[in-house]
């Protein structure tokens, strides 16, 4: 396989990790969206 200097090529895992990353980013921003809809709260706003 090309670019395989260490015989440590893991293209399948490389795809899986991006699925994981996309899920994390999605969940993270959905929560910010949820937060932005609640009452305003803070100190002295």
């Amino acid at each position: 396989m090309a670019g395989n200097e260490n015989e440590n090529h893991a293209p399948g895992s490389f795809v899986l990790i991006w699925i994981f990353f996309a899920t994390m980013v999605l969940l993270y921003f959905l929560n910010w969206k949820y937060l932005s809809g609640v009452w305003h709260v803070g100190t002295g706003n």
Partner: protein, 174 residues
């Protein structure tokens, strides 16, 4: 093998795929760290930090004065209070009730003082799902603006003894 003494490849350079992933992960970690100060400057929902030390008796007295001054009725034996918009409001948590019932106005800002007379309690505003801690000996001031009218509940969500699940208060927003 992960269970044996490492061979020489231990010193070999990191694989290219791994390098890309670790770089992206690092950038992501920096980004999610910066989100917090960013939201403090631009967002409308931030955990309040205004806090005063107060003895439970003192807080109870402040709340009693507040209730006497602004009381407009009763609901299930709990006084209903309409605090002045822009002013201070008090909410007392004790086993196992929240006092008083608050009547707030939509779009108005209140300085809501919360404290506990006994155990640690939770302040969970339902159904919008906003959650804060209520600790004894501390007056926690939430500067809060209801953005929608409706009939809201306050649930205790910190365990405070066997009657914990019955600890429910009420807020109405008009």
């Amino acid at each position: 093998m992960s269970i044996s003494v490492p061979e020489t490849y231990w010193w070999k350079p990191v694989d290219r795929e791994e390098k890309i992933w670790v770089t992206v992960a690092l950038i992501w970690c920096i980004f999610i760290t910066l989100m917090m100060p960013y939201w403090h400057f631009t967002g409308k929902q931030n955990p309040p930090w205004e806090t005063y030390k107060i003895k439970p008796e003192q807080f109870e007295k402040l709340a009693a004065d507040f209730i006497a001054k602004h009381k407009v009725g009763e609901d299930n034996g709990i006084p209903v209070v309409e605090p002045p918009p822009g002013g201070d409001a008090f909410l007392v948590a004790s086993t196992w009730k929240f006092e008083p019932v608050l009547k707030l106005q939509k779009g108005q800002t209140y300085r809501l003082h919360v404290s506990s007379l006994d155990y640690q309690h939770g302040l969970s505003i339902f159904p919008i799902n906003m959650n804060f801690m209520i600790l004894p000996d501390y007056d926690y001031v939430l500067t809060i603006t209801p953005t929608e009218s409706g009939d809201y509940r306050i649930m205790c969500n910190e365990f405070c003894g066997i009657g914990h699940h019955n600890m429910v208060g009420k807020i109405t927003v008009t």
